[in-house]
């Protein structure tokens, strides 16, 4: 049985935990949350609780060991134990079958059967999220940025904290652990913001994402879709994925708010991005931030120090090489983190190539004399936002397609058979309604630079907002399959 965040069973259980949590003295609260977290995880998938316990045990002790060790070699060895255990578990469950299939296909191409068989492994729920989360703990201790904690309960709760256990946000230890350990007091603003985040998140998931899922499934199951259908399908899927995952993240933050713990914002209006760099600061922020901090930046500053890179030219060339190579590594990790398949590999390469092209274009553009005219600047920015959105939509074709043939067929249709008039299809009216409403609401959030502005509005404004959500829920309706897309990672 899966307790989805918006299911009545989950809401009842969380309400009970919440009442007990605030009724208990501080010293018992984390124990209660830990028991609830393990309980929820077992209700989602009890088989892999042992993996969480292994990660917890290894990282708790490695963290203490790294801090105590005097020799650099010992510190490094303990960090490698932490990295090795966590990444081995992740790679085994997530990539073993993909690797075996690839080996068999490669050997088959040379007429040789290696006799390997796949294990048909089930991916443990949340492993990609909590693995990265716990690694940030040991890496930060190794770098001297964080001191290990000496409470087994608090650390276990950091690894298994149920609102963000199975699909993030991926919290760094230095952000979440101090909050877990702090003595918390109940505040009314927590209730107001928590309820808003949860209700609006559920709305994005149940009403927006799930109704768009119908359009997406229909179009991606059409063998010979026209260019207009493909474009509608890509718009719908881009918004579905965004509403699904950001809706989940909002719900996770909302639940956590009620326990007095603020989780990081995971989505910050990504469709207003004017460039790739901005997009990755707004989309799945905690994963992008994790990769930027622990992979991209270290590689970026390390590559220019390599002797063969030094020989290639001056500091400009060295930095350029550092940027392009570390970007390649980062984009591939970002894509493959989502799953082991050719689609995701292609996605990583596509993002990398188009990002390099946009950077090159930006550099060229900076040589053109500036115009001080506001309307032209506004038009330029709007065009950049639209271009970025459509590059993302095309990337979603690689994310969602069944196979390479479909990618090829849809791409061909998109570029050779696109009739703009055919985009106006009456049966997809709710797609356009959703796009207009979402764009309007997010434009207000963007202009105010405040995603929670509704919480600060007056009583009647808030009432109208919630009534509109209820009205749209009734009008657009909910459909059967409410599983979150990001639970598969």
């Amino acid at each position: 049985m899966v307790f989805l965040f918006h299911s009545p069973a989950f809401i009842i259980c969380v309400s009970l935990v919440l009442v007990c949590y605030w009724a208990l003295p501080h010293r018992f609260r984390n124990r209660l949350l830990l028991a609830a977290s393990y309980g929820f995880y077992c209700s989602w998938d009890w088989r892999f609780l042992s993996l969480i316990l292994v990660s917890t045990f290894v990282d708790y002790n490695c963290g203490l060991g790294i801090h105590r060790a005097k020799k650099k070699s010992t510190r490094k060895a303990l960090l490698l134990v932490s990295l090795g255990v966590n990444l081995s578990l992740l790679c085994f469950f997530k990539y073993f079958d993909f690797f075996i299939e690839g080996m068999v296909a490669l050997c088959g191409a040379f007429g040789f059967d290696p006799g390997f068989t796949t294990l048909n492994l089930v991916l443990p729920l949340g492993i990609s999220f909590y693995t990265f989360q716990t690694l940030s703990y040991t890496i930060d201790i190794y770098r001297g940025k964080f001191e290990p904690i000496r409470s087994w309960i608090d650390f276990s709760l950091y690894v298994a904290y149920f609102p963000q256990l199975i699909a993030g946000p991926i919290e760094k230890a230095r952000d979440l652990l101090p909050q877990i350990q702090a003595v918390k007091e109940w505040r009314r603003v927590q209730l107001r913001e928590g309820i808003y985040l949860f209700v609006y998140g559920a709305f994005k998931k149940v009403v927006l994402a799930d109704s768009l899922g119908r359009v997406v499934n229909e179009i991606f199951d059409t063998p010979e879709a026209s260019g207009a259908q493909v474009l509608i399908g890509l718009w719908a899927f881009a918004i579905q994925l965004y509403c699904d995952f950001s809706g989940y993240s909002n719900m996770a933050r909302g639940v956590s708010h009620l326990f007095g713990i603020r989780l990081s914002t995971n989505f910050d209006l990504p469709f207003f991005s004017k460039s790739y760099f901005e997009f990755f600061r707004r989309w799945h922020i905690t994963l992008s931030g994790w990769i930027a901090e622990y992979v991209y930046m270290p590689l970026y500053f390390y590559i220019p120090t390599l002797s063969w890179v030094r020989r290639l030219g001056g500091i400009r060339v060295q930095l350029l090489l550092g940027a392009t190579l570390s970007l390649l590594a980062t984009r591939l990790i970002f894509a493959i983190w989502h799953g082991a398949s050719i689609n995701f590999l292609l996605l990583g390469v596509f993002i990398y190539v188009t990002q390099l092209l946009t950077v090159g274009f930006r550099m060229l553009l900076h040589r053109v004399p500036e115009t001080g005219r506001t309307p032209l600047r506004w038009a330029g920015n709007t065009l950049r936002v639209l271009l970025m959105f459509h590059i993302f939509c095309y990337a979603m074709l690689l994310f969602r397609s069944h196979d390479l043939q479909q990618i090829a067929a849809f791409t061909f249709a998109l570029f050779t058979d696109l009739d703009p008039l055919a985009l106006v299809v009456a049966r997809y009216w709710y797609l356009y309604v959703i796009m207009v409403l979402l764009a309007f609401y997010e434009a207000v959030q963007y202009r105010r630079a405040d995603q929670l502005f509704i919480c600060r509005a007056g009583f009647y404004t808030q009432m109208v907002f919630y009534l509109v959500l209820i009205f749209l829920y009734i009008q657009i309706g909910a459909i059967a399959d409410h599983r979150f897309l990001y639970f598969q990672f």
């Binding site: 500053f301 030094r310 500091i315 400009r316 350029l320 570390s326 900076h366």
Partner: protein, 81 residues
């Protein structure tokens, strides 16, 4: 003084000025806030070399040296010393 000159570079160079504002403090992380990205850092290094007559070596390329206006001030002072 050095800090003001760095701020001026950030406020006037096309690569950064759209993202830079007076509200950015000297201690704020320019990399984290996206005012300077990895490709923008190439431009910044060139500007710093020209403005302060220093030569930046590969070994100087550490995140801590370019993180914020404050850290760049410290780095440039050390280079000039």
């Amino acid at each position: 003084m050095i800090g003001e000159e760095i701020r001026e570079i950030l406020m006037t160079t096309r690569e950064f000025k759209a993202k830079m504002s007076d509200e950015v403090k000297d201690s704020d992380s320019l990399l984290q806030q996206g005012i300077v990205d990895s490709f923008g850092l190439i431009q910044l290094v060139v500007e710093l070399e020209a403005r302060f007559s220093i030569t930046i070596e590969p070994d100087d390329l550490q995140k801590e040296n370019f993180e914020s206006i404050d850290s760049m001030v410290g780095f440039i002072e050390a280079k000039r010393a």
